[in-house]
């Protein structure tokens, strides 16, 4: 491996910094059948996966960008310039001294342990997560739980993997799910056997760190009948990204009576396009809950959804989006009711700071033949500055009788009187603003696991800096 010692690019906001990188396996720039074969060869894919990828590529190339409804900013992505596969664990070595001071400070203020800071800064390809991961794997493994990477999953557990892979989100769902289908690598595969209740949340953090973050992650989680599992991905630390396009696909399957919760906290650097497709399939009496927190990125498009396929199944999406200067959070939820007595709940809160823009898109669908379905949607937007923007596009089709739907939306601003009141108690204007924002999201943040909610509060404080005055 050769090393490069170019200057570190630090001339940007916190979270955005770049190093020259060297990779051992590199599919090169641009996307063609050759790229797919390269990836399949390197990963030693079974034939069915290679074919799946090729179909993904074909669909990706055929589908237009969804710019008739989505941001025109998508056109800024130059697909020919993107590297679609870089082999893991070969990130360039760099020293802690090279990490910009502001990044170190941010890590420190977020209270991230020393070892993890080094990993997050890209100093170490992996920190001591192998041990943690193997302990978790061993503990849940005794219950028959499978918790592995998607590559290992498709190779070693094809009988379960193949049954559900690409079934919740088909290749052609959208242009970016097709792209992911073509070039996916990384992500998790989890299977929880019938009746098993996994006590502690499974954290992608440890698993992915052991394997390096994926650009086109593919995660598949199956909770068998009557089982319960919570999965957490991401972390609140600003994550440095060398690649500007991230397009993950996450499929969840909750079989009869199962409960599946998926928690995401992401804080992308502001050069990233984060275009993610997430959907769950809830069978009879099953429950799927998405808790989603999006911070940073140039453009995030993400609408976690639940297909309520079985009678009495329940779906929930709780989301927080924070759009700072120059960022666009285009997020929301989809609830597809496909059986009687199904219920869904969507609570979305967004905060726009500076020139940040938050968009809510919600789709709630209840067809005519169904009975006793319920949906509740609440979306609240908070605008911090006069230049901040928010839009709401709810699409609700509820047909038939005996189904109920409730939609509430609000747009608010932190009033000058409120800030004055808080200042009169001794808080600076910035402290007052950040406490107000924390108050705005408080009821949702409380649903996050403790360690996330604490980090999230600190992170909001950091994001609020410089938004007043």
């Amino acid at each position: 491996m050769k090393t490069e010692t170019k200057a570190v690019d630090i001339d940007r906001d916190k979270g955005d910094f770049a190093y020259p990188e060297v990779h051992v396996r590199d599919a090169g720039r641009g996307l063609s059948e050759k790229t797919i074969h390269y990836i399949s060869d390197v990963k030693e894919d079974p034939d069915w996966v290679r074919e799946f990828r090729l179909r993904g590529l074909k669909t990706f190339l055929e589908k237009p960008l969804p710019t008739h409804w989505a941001s025109k900013d998508l056109e800024a992505i130059d697909f020919d310039k993107i590297r679609y596969y870089l082999s893991p664990g070969t990130g360039a070595k760099r020293s802690w001294e090279e990490v910009p001071d502001d990044i170190k400070r941010t890590f420190e203020r977020l209270g991230i342990p020393e070892q993890e800071r080094k990993f997050l800064a890209g100093v170490e390809a992996q920190f001591d997560s192998e041990a943690v991961y193997s302990n978790i794997k061993k503990a849940v493994g005794e219950q028959g739980v499978i918790f592995v990477g998607s590559t290992e999953g498709l190779k070693n557990h094809p009988e379960i993997f193949r049954k559900w892979f690409g079934k919740v989100i088909p290749i052609g769902d959208n242009k970016f799910s097709a792209l992911n289908s073509a070039v996916f690598s990384g992500g998790s595969f989890i299977y929880v056997p019938p009746g098993v209740k996994v006590k502690h949340p499974l954290q992608a953090y440890f698993r992915i760190n052991a394997e390096s973050f994926g650009q086109f992650e593919r995660t598949l989680i199956i909770a068998d009948e009557g089982s319960e599992v919570t999965y957490m991905e991401g972390c609140t630390a600003p994550k440095f990204e060398t690649v500007a396009l991230h397009s993950a696909v996450v499929e969840l399957v909750a079989l009869k009576g199962a409960k599946l919760q998926y928690i995401t906290v992401q804080n992308w650097s502001s050069n990233v396009f984060n275009l993610v497709t997430k959907r769950g399939l809830a069978h009879e009496d099953a429950e799927i809950k998405w808790i989603d927190c999006n911070i940073g990125s140039r453009l995030t498009m993400k609408y976690p959804g639940v297909v309520l396929k079985g009678r009495k199944s329940r779906g929930e999406v709780l989301s927080i989006a924070l759009a700072n200067n120059g960022q666009h959070q285009d997020t929301g939820a989809k609830m597809i009711h496909a059986a009687d007595e199904t219920t869904s709940n969507i609570i979305s809160k967004s905060i726009s700071i500076g020139t940040g823009r938050a968009t809510y898109r919600g789709l709630v669908h209840v067809p005519k033949h169904l009975k006793h379905c319920k949906n509740n949607t609440e979306c609240d937007a908070l605008l911090i500055n006069a230049t901040s923007r928010t839009d709401t596009y709810p699409a609700i089709t509820v047909r038939g009788t005996g189904n109920s739907v409730q939609h509430e939306a609000s747009v608010s601003q932190v009033s000058a009187e409120q800030i004055f009141y808080m200042q009169q108690r001794g808080l600076t204007e910035a402290q007052a603003m950040s406490l107000s924002v924390n108050g705005f999201v408080n009821d949702l943040v409380r649903q996050f696991p403790m360690e996330y909610s604490v980090e999230l509060k600190r992170l909001i404080e950091l994001e609020m800096e410089g938004s007043v005055g």
Binding site: Q418, R425, L427, S436
Partner: protein, 255 residues
């Protein structure tokens, strides 16, 4: 000198002069009442002291223990020891009373110093008991969905917790029934002493039966027109603001 002092204060909102040459001094350890009819500029006085950005001081000065308050941001004034109990306190959605007061107290500590949680809660519960507030109140969001009486009580709770050098109570009695008034008065009286100067702004004499002032000032058309002892409040109650207005042509300056 340890006093909260207003000298020849002139205040405008836009083109309109609200306060015209008001002077007043509240030494630490005393309670002064400012009484005045609607539109006399009482609340403007309170807000200007606290540094509300909508009001412009066109002339005069305000000092706290000889320090120029007008040069300070509202939060600096607060941390240095000025407290305003608002007539209409703002809601702070989603922020609990416990967290809010904790943040307020934390802002007074040197950087890097953390508040001791058990001490904080012990003190908070003690003050709440004094004001007849249930402990469950601490987990409610500040002023959100509060009744008028609950809001005023919460203002006094904050006053008790923050222990300022000077407190301005802006119509704390308005909208309170007699029981709530007594509770609030009890809270304020228990804080009285040599460490605090209190300026009590009110429209009615009633609260002064419970919080007996050392001095009473009558404010009309943006000026103090009469000053005296606590008996002035009773005289005013008997004779009405017209009587006080009669003296408006010749402003009475105290001290």
């Amino acid at each position: 000198m340890n006093e909260l002092r207003v000298e020849n204060l002139h205040v405008a909102i836009g083109d309109q002069q609200i306060v015209r040459g008001l002077s007043l001094a509240v030494p630490r350890g005393e309670v002064h009442a400012v009484m005045g009819p609607n539109g006399s500029g009482k609340s403007t006085l309170a807000k200007v002291m606290a540094g509300h950005p909508d009001y412009h001081v066109t002339k005069g000065k305000i000092t706290m223990d000889s320090e120029d308050l007008l040069a300070l941001e509202p939060d600096d004034r607060a941390r240095k020891g000025l407290f305003l109990a608002f007539q209409y306190p703002s809601e702070v959605p989603g922020v609990t009373i416990a967290n809010f007061l904790r943040a307020a107290l934390q802002s007074r500590l040197p950087e890097g110093e953390e508040m001791e949680a058990t001490e904080y809660y012990a003190k908070l519960y003690e003050k709440m008991e004094l004001l007849g507030m249930d402990r469950s109140f601490t987990s409610r969001a500040v002023n959100e969905g509060f009744s008028g009486g609950e809001k005023k009580r919460t203002e006094i709770l904050q006053l008790a917790m923050l222990e300022p050098k000077y407190a301005v109570l802006d119509e704390t009695d308005s909208g309170l029934d007699i029981d709530a008034l007594k509770t609030v008065a009890h809270g304020v009286n228990s804080l009285r002493g040599s460490k605090i100067g209190i300026l009590l702004i009110t429209h009615y004499q009633r609260i002064l039966n419970y919080i007996v002032p050392d001095h009473v000032h009558v404010m009309v058309q943006g000026r103090i027109v009469r000053s005296g002892g606590k008996e002035l409040a009773l005289e005013l109650e008997e004779r009405g603001y017209d009587w006080a207005r009669a003296g408006a042509d010749e402003p009475v300056l105290t001290r």
